[in-house]
């Protein structure tokens, strides 16, 4: 008899898995939210060459100015980066934000041409051709944006392109000094 019950095991497993999947789907969790290891900690070390040849390399000193800084990893081959680009132009021009751009796994010439074509929202831009800085920052892809406060602590981390709601709900309050 116990042999027979054993045959029910696959069915039971299936029911369990289906139940788990249904629960995961219906709980209303954002499947894109995978958390971030850097939020609440000092900004990871940064030491990369400047995108514009002949300019000083980008280092941690950028986060010690006492002002909040946005760090945006982008690439010219990335379509969502194009979609969020006007938002950074606006942040720079209307909110006076300091935005640091990092061209991730992107050839220097292509990234520069991209910025020339679209407009350059970055105060300084660096080149992370090998993606090593991306590893330090816990990057999963581009575009991703980090908000670093005046003390060099990462406060916000956006995976994926920024949208209007991110700006009004988090980024602009953050720049105004209201750390969420």
């Amino acid at each position: 008899m116990s042999r027979r019950l054993l045959y029910l095991l696959p069915l039971l497993t299936l029911a369990l898995m289906a139940g788990f999947f249904a629960w995961s789907l219906l709980i209303g969790r954002d499947p894109a939210a995978i958390g971030s290891v850097v939020v609440g900690r000092p900004a990871p070390p940064l030491n990369i060459p400047a995108l514009q040849e002949g300019q000083a390399p980008l280092t941690d000193a950028l986060f010690k100015s006492g002002k909040p800084v946005l760090v945006n990893f982008f690439a010219s081959w990335c379509a969502p980066c194009l979609a969020e680009h006007p938002l950074f132009m606006r942040l720079k021009e209307r909110e006076g934000a300091i935005v640091i751009g990092i061209a991730w796994k992107n050839k220097r010439d292509e990234a520069l041409a991209w910025l020339k074509r679209l407009g350059n929202p970055f105060q300084t831009a660096g080149l992370d051709l090998e993606g090593k800085a991306g590893l330090d920052w816990g990057l999963s892809g581009v575009p991703e944006t980090y908000a670093v406060d005046g003390n060099g602590i990462v406060r916000l981390h956006f995976r994926g392109p920024l949208i209007e709601r991110d700006l009004t709900d988090s980024v602009i309050p953050f720049l105004k000094g209201n750390t969420p």
Binding site: H85, P86, R90, R117, L118, I163, E164
Partner: protein, 416 residues
């Protein structure tokens, strides 16, 4: 054709499955009987060899005992297997039933969800160039940039450059495009194209509220423009993304889906008749509700398309009395007037009034220049006629067919 092949394949597969299922099946009993046959043969063999003297008596007895022992073991085994009872009906029916049900179910689903009548799309057509010539955006940008550099003060050239740069960036209004549009706006503050793209830039840079306000203004100003449906869709899209109410004015009612379908089935003459009937219906409704300015403009356009220019003029007069019409509508209105003229006739005073308004709105409008010239000529103001016609002549392409006639008339105007 493909359907037939697939049906044959399915039928063959099901057939292969069904043949053994419907045939007789082994059970323990028949197996035991088969074994028994073998042992019977072996016993006969031993007996034969004993009589022929190949086997000794004692050896034959040992071999016989061995075979008998095996027979007993096989009988025990057959008795131990419980399935000696005949298989139940369920076991008999279920496998062939399933083998038939799966393809039948698939067929039913396909008829429900699929489109058996859909023509196939051959690979050759997919890889062939599209019917429309492919727009070479890079060339478009180069040309637009050249024109904008050549005419830095022409709002049209600047707006075209902005549009080209936006197309180049897959629909993102880039910083250089924005600069071009701002230049265009300075020279021509009401240009709908510039206003649309500036709104798009606002939407893309996270200011949906400003974009929506700008676009709603634009839509209120041009409720019947050809771009109005597209603009509506854009307003709805941006409003949905921002999670706000689009606040759209109600759309002008066009023919319904069913009406369009019926129209498509009619012969050209019948269709013309049906269109005329609809336009007359609109005219009737407007008689009852004469305050509907958009309705009058729609009616004017419909009459003009049908060639009823006098009716079109009448509808434009109604629309204009509610609120002055814009330059594009003035041009249509004036055209409806002059289409009623015999060649060479000067336009009547009412038409001259409309043409003068058109000339004021668009000083370089060819229609206004030509017919106001004719009116000036008829009223004796030859100088004004020659000035207008010369202005028109300078704007005509070198191979325009009316050039010769125009030069002739300028000569006449200057001679007397």
């Amino acid at each position: 054709m493909l359907e037939l092949v697939l049906a044959l394949l399915s039928a063959a597969t099901v057939g292969v499955l069904l043949i053994p299922l419907l045939g007789s099946r082994f059970d323990a009993k028949s197996r035991f009987e088969g074994e028994l046959g073998i042992y019977r043969d072996q016993l006969a063999e031993i007996e034969r060899e004993r009589t022929n003297g190949i086997l000794a008596e004692s050896e034959a007895a040992a071999a016989r005992t061995e075979v008998e022992r095996r027979i007993l073991a096989a009988a025990d085994q057959a008795a131990a297997v419980p399935s000696s009872k005949p298989p139940s009906t369920l076991h008999k029916v279920l496998p062939p039933g399933l083998a038939l049900a799966v393809p039948l179910l698939a067929l039913g689903l396909y008829l429900q969800l699929g489109h058996p009548g859909l023509p196939s799309a051959p690979f050759a057509r997919g890889s062939a160039p599209a019917e429309e010539p492919h727009m070479d955006i890079a060339r478009l940008v180069v040309e637009a940039r050249a024109r904008a550099t050549e005419h830095p003060d022409d709002p049209e050239a600047q707006a075209a450059l902005g549009e080209a740069l936006t197309l180049e960036a897959d629909g993102t209004v880039t910083q250089p495009a924005l600069e071009a549009f701002n230049k265009a706006l300075q020279r021509n503050p009401g240009d709908p194209r510039t206003l649309y793209y500036l709104g798009l830039h606002q939407a893309q840079s996270g200011d949906s509220a400003a974009a929506l306000a700008r676009w709603r203004d634009l839509l209120t100003k041009y409720p019947d423009a050809p771009f109005a449906p597209g603009l509506r869709a854009e307003i709805e899209r941006v409003a949905r993304a921002a999670g706000v109410d689009p606040g759209l004015p109600p759309a002008p009612t066009g023919p319904s889906r069913e009406q369009q379908d019926t129209m498509a089935k009619l012969s050209p003459a019948e269709r013309q008749q049906a269109i005329r009937g609809m336009v007359e219906g609109l005219a009737e409704r407007l008689k009852e509700n004469p305050q509907d300015r958009a309705g009058w403009l729609r009616l004017a356009n419909a009459w003009k398309v049908l060639g009823e220019n006098a009716n079109a003029v009448d509808a434009y007069v109604h629309a204009d009395s509610l609120a002055p019409v814009d330059a594009r509508q003035l041009a249509d209105w004036a055209e409806a007037y002059v289409r009623q003229l015999k060649p060479g006739d000067p336009p009547p005073p009412a038409a001259v009034a409309v043409l003068e308004r058109l000339e004021k709105a668009e000083p370089r409008n060819g229609l206004a220049l030509f017919y106001l010239g004719a009116a000036s000529f008829a009223s004796g103001d030859k100088q004004a006629a020659a000035r207008r016609w010369k202005a028109l002549l300078s704007r005509l392409p070198p191979d325009a067919p009316i050039r010769e006639m125009l030069e002739q008339r300028i000569k006449e105007a200057e001679a007397k």
